[in-house]
């Protein structure tokens, strides 16, 4: 499969989860594993541009597919995206464990808004609802919500 545009090959047992393949075989440890049953959102990555839970997909199901992880967000020169910069500016993280999952969820939302010819501006309540599948136990979400609202405002 392709991960962040790079070919990743490996032989796995059928029971190997995508989250474990990404971390242990592709060596991309930016994707974090929290609850491992689809509740916390820490392992969120993008499969063909759609956000998915990497812990709820088998690695074998990724055969021939294109995956994007948090390492694929920044440019080749390491330049952070507007979303990543907003996360630092708005103090949207403390311990950082949930951050890559939030970034991949929020990045997919931004892409969906950008591809919509007539995107309806998202209210704060709607942004909170879009982020409801990702848990953060540090920040109380305020910084994360304001970071995303900031980028949505700048982007539109």
């Amino acid at each position: 499969m392709h991960i962040n545009g790079r070919v990743c090959e490996g032989e796995v047992e059928p029971r190997t989860l995508m989250s474990d393949f990404i971390r242990h075989q592709a060596g991309l440890t930016g994707t974090h594993v929290g609850c491992e049953h689809g509740v916390c959102g820490a392992c969120t990555v993008q499969l063909d541009s759609e956000p998915i839970r990497a812990c709820l997909m088998l690695a074998v199901q990724g055969n021939g597919r294109a995956l994007r992880t948090v390492e694929g967000l920044a440019g080749p020169d390491g330049a952070l995206t507007a979303l990543q910069r907003a996360f630092t500016e708005h103090h949207a993280l403390q311990c950082g464990f949930c951050t890559s999952g939030f970034l991949m969820t929020a990045d997919a939302l931004l892409r969906r808004q950008a591809s919509d010819p007539n995107p309806a501006p998202l209210t704060e309540a709607e942004v909170r609802r879009e982020l409801a599948g990702n848990l953060c136990r540090c920040t109380g979400y305020e910084g994360i919500v304001s970071a995303l609202l900031d980028v949505l405002g700048t982007a539109s």
Binding site: P51, L56, M57, L58, T105, R129
Partner: protein
């Protein structure tokens, strides 16, 4: 938190999936979107010997409106596809409203309609919405051929359906709504995207059609027949709500179903 070992087969067609399920017997499980089955594998609550992956089976995915103007949803249609479908939003808005409550963007991208239905979680939204819409469930097996079941026949209990080990849910058929049908879905969940504590799906059409299906009243989706009769007879919303909730034993759920019925009736969309 890792699955027990299993054999894996990626089916390329419905016939191949049916053959694999038939040969695997009760030790084989079909894998749809995996948003419920994979957590059960990770917890080792499910330990199938063989997983038959339906994801490569293109003929199982897709939303179609045949000539009779009904809706045909392939079992492997993603929840995200249903949510984005313009024709569903226009003619079956109840399904659009219900699926918006199912999980999150990162689970709807993989989760399927057939998976939600066949998993038969008593707190799931789609089975209740489909029950209100008089949906029919098309199932197939290699030995037994095809059969079509109504919701009351399909949902047999919590996490239990009429599907036999070698049978596969292939499609869900929703009849064309009469002209000027109005529909609404309302639910209460502790957090957005969580399974609902209670919910109500309402369908009303001029000329005396009314359907009201309840989530949280029983272990399977149920129709509130007395409330439907009252709705057809033009009863006021509080009376319909009282009748809808009357048979619910638990005080909290009875209060929720009553309030949600009134809310759904207020927000009926055309």
């Amino acid at each position: 938190m890792k699955p027990a070992p299993f054999a894996y087969a990626a089916a390329q067609s419905v016939d191949e999936a049916l053959a694999l399920l038939s040969e695997g017997g009760e030790e084989a499980r079909p894998l749809a979107g995996g948003q419920s089955l994979v957590p059960m594998l990770n917890f080792r609550l499910a330990r199938p010997a063989l997983l038959v992956d339906l994801n490569p089976v293109d003929e199982l995915a897709g939303i179609a409106v045949p000539e009779d103007q009904s809706l045909r949803i392939g079992a492997m249609t993603r929840q995200a596809s249903l949510l984005r479908s313009a024709v569903v939003g226009r003619r079956w808005p109840l399904l659009t409203q219900a699926v918006a409550h199912v999980g999150h963007a990162a689970t709807r991208s993989r989760g399927t309609i057939g998976g939600s239905v066949a998993h038969a979680d008593p707190k799931a939204e789609l089975p209740v919405a489909l029950t209100a819409l008089d949906a029919r469930f098309r199932v197939r097996s290699r030995e037994r051929g095809a059969r079509t079941l109504a919701a009351a026949e399909f949902f047999a209990g919590p996490f239990t359906t009429a599907l036999r080990d070698d049978e596969l849910l292939v499609a869900i058929e929703v009849p064309a709504p009469p002209r000027h049908t109005r529909m609404a879905f309302a639910e209460y969940a502790r957090t957005h995207g969580d399974f609902a504590v209670a919910g109500v799906a309402v369908v009303v059409a001029p000329g005396g059609h009314a359907a009201l299906a309840l989530l949280g009243a029983d272990a399977v989706p149920v129709r509130a027949h007395a409330a439907e009769r009252a709705l057809r007879d033009g009863a006021a919303a509080p009376e319909v709500a009282r009748l809808a909730a009357a048979g619910v034993a638990d005080d909290h759920r009875r209060a929720l179903i009553s309030a949600l019925t009134e809310r759904a009736l207020r927000t009926l969309s055309s």
